[in-house]
């Protein structure tokens, strides 16, 4: 086997050195009755070309050649070959968590830079080294708020990503948390009045998303005021992080839970991505996940270490802030390289292109009779339109023209039966937008 670096003779030599006759003897502590008597029934072994051929064949059965208008928490964005070049360096790819700081300074400094970038983006004071994804970061942020406030009620906006809400409910089911959902108003934003009436001093967190699942911006300042008035914390989830290039940072929030997939990470059918938790400095000891900190070595030279580790499971065990161990370090590195490449101007420009393309797409769609914008609040690169027919029917027509249509909102919001969540990023060309609009027009003109 090409991955194994031993010749049969070397194996024999090593067995002899150990003082056993056969490798079977090394497994003598496994009771005979439980040892497998025949080879596993697995496909393979495959040579490298065969492995590649298998996956190429699977890739060909997917959506190659289609144009997509899907977003809803996973976004297509440009990324540079530099990002992947760095990611494939074995020193980053094949190293472990940087517990041994002296030979992990590369990873540690990169994490420190990641934490800094995340703080700058979100207007928060501290950010961790990554969580699994945006959904689990949001859940962990709620658990953090529970520890900080000692309270148990959670007010969760229905305009938060439906799957993020599902994850929170899975975790909350067996905790002491009680999650209550708050609706949205005609503008597409959270129902602030409903929220106000549900807010009492037993609430630990108000959870919103901005831009929210409908793509529109939430007014965080007033939500924070309302939450703080009863001693609750405001949590803001962000699924489309590119928005922060042109949108004010959620500095009013007490905790920000963000998905960094938009920064150089491919959609990859749902992962791996990189979650982030950013917060105020005074909350850092209740923050889950790893943190890199700056310090000096014995000679006074600057260096970095993992720090505040007593929050974590390997030390505090059942009293840890979270059970997280493995995180998404390499994905966070991708985001770090990507944002460094884009820089201040590049990210702003990318965000402005998203804004312009989404505005253009909305404008063009509205020229079709019967197509109406649903929510009036300002949006970034996603918006909701109501169609005169079922979105599923329209999408079926689009598919015939090699277009993956917008997200069908009715699947998560039964009241939004004819509503589509359209996403347009800088990767979508004007020609593709035009083609999609024309296809929607044709689909709607067809006799029923």
């Amino acid at each position: 086997m090409r991955y194994l670096p031993k010749s049969p003779a070397e194996r024999q030599e090593m067995l002899a050195a150990i003082g056993v006759q056969s490798v079977e003897e090394l497994f003598s502590t496994i009771p005979e009755a439980y040892r497998l008597k025949k080879p596993l029934n697995l496909p393979g072994p495959l040579s490298e070309p065969e492995v590649i051929a298998y996956f190429r064949a699977r890739a060909a059965e997917n959506s190659v050649g289609y144009t997509s208008f899907l977003g809803a928490g996973v976004y297509n964005h440009l990324s540079s070959v530099i990002t992947d070049t760095v990611l494939q360096r074995g020193e980053f790819l094949t190293s472990y968590t940087p517990y041994q700081a002296e030979i992990s300074q590369g990873t540690l400094q990169a994490i420190f830079e990641f934490q800094t970038l995340m703080c700058q983006l979100t207007g928060q004071e501290v950010a961790n080294a990554s969580m699994y994804d945006g959904s689990t970061a949001t859940t962990e942020a709620v658990l953090m708020a529970e520890r900080l406030t000692g309270k148990r009620r959670v007010l969760l906006a229905r305009s938060v990503h439906p799957e993020y809400r599902e994850v929170l409910k899975t975790y909350a089911k067996n905790s002491r948390l009680r999650v209550e959902e708050v609706g949205y108003i005609a503008a597409g934003t959270v129902d602030a009045k409903g929220l106000q009436s549900a807010l009492r001093d037993d609430v630990c967190a108000v959870v919103v998303q901005s831009p929210n699942f409908f793509g529109v911006m939430e007014s965080l300042g007033s939500l924070a005021e309302a939450a703080h008035a009863v001693g609750a914390l405001l949590l803001t989830a962000i699924t489309e992080a590119v928005s922060l290039g042109v949108v004010k940072p959620p500095a009013e929030a007490d905790i920000v839970a963000m998905e960094a997939q938009s920064f150089g990470l491919a959609p990859s059918y749902g992962g791996p991505f990189a979650g982030v938790i950013a917060s105020k400095e005074k909350f850092v000891r209740q923050m889950p996940g790893r943190l890199a900190g700056q310090t000096v070595d014995l000679d006074g030279r600057r260096g970095f270490v993992l720090t505040l580790a007593t929050r974590e499971q390997h030390i505090r065990r059942e009293k840890a802030t979270s059970n997280i161990c493995t995180n998404q370090a390499l994905c966070a590195l991708a985001a770090t390289v990507h944002l460094t490449l884009l820089g201040k101007e590049g990210l702003r420009e990318m965000a402005e292109q998203n804004l312009a393309k989404a505005q253009f797409a909305l404008h063009e769609l509205q020229t079709i009779p019967g197509v109406k914008r649903t929510f009036a609040a300002p949006f970034f690169n996603e918006f909701v339109v109501e169609l005169p027919r079922s979105v599923k029917m329209v999408n079926a027509e689009l598919l015939k023209e090699k277009i993956v249509g917008p997200f069908v909102l009715g699947s998560a919001y039964p009241e939004l039966t004819k509503h589509a969540l359209v996403c347009v990023t800088e990767t979508t060309s004007r020609a593709e937008i035009d083609r999609m609009v024309a296809a929607v027009r044709r689909a709607l003109e067809q006799p029923l």
């Binding site: 000891r285 580790a309 007593t310 030390i315 505090r316 009293k319």
Partner: protein
Amino acid sequence: MAYPKEYRYTKEHEWIVVKGGIATIGITDYAQHELGDVVFVELPKAGAKLAAGKIFGSVESVKAVSEIFAPASGDLVEANAALQDKPETLNSDPHGAGWLVKVKLTNPTELSSLLDAAAYEAFIAEKQKEASS
């Protein structure tokens, strides 16, 4: 470091001393030594009530957390705020400036079950002997 005669001690390595009806509580020199460089101290907030034998705070080094048990029951009068900025005081002066909390005792008779300095020193000598064997 000497263990003051007027203090009382627990087997969890806390000390307590009462002056003018107010008890001061800290951890012993042995405890700080075992823990190593203290980096953070978590103390109760105003209004807290301590119960004898129950956890009221924790002391952290880089790679360990040690819980602190109340030697006696009482109402919190003051927590040592200086430790937030200078946790190292716990290492340099555990029996003095490194005190943790001052409380008004609610059941002073609990003190009678604690160790005096001689008994505590004998207790840690035994522990050290165990560790080196």
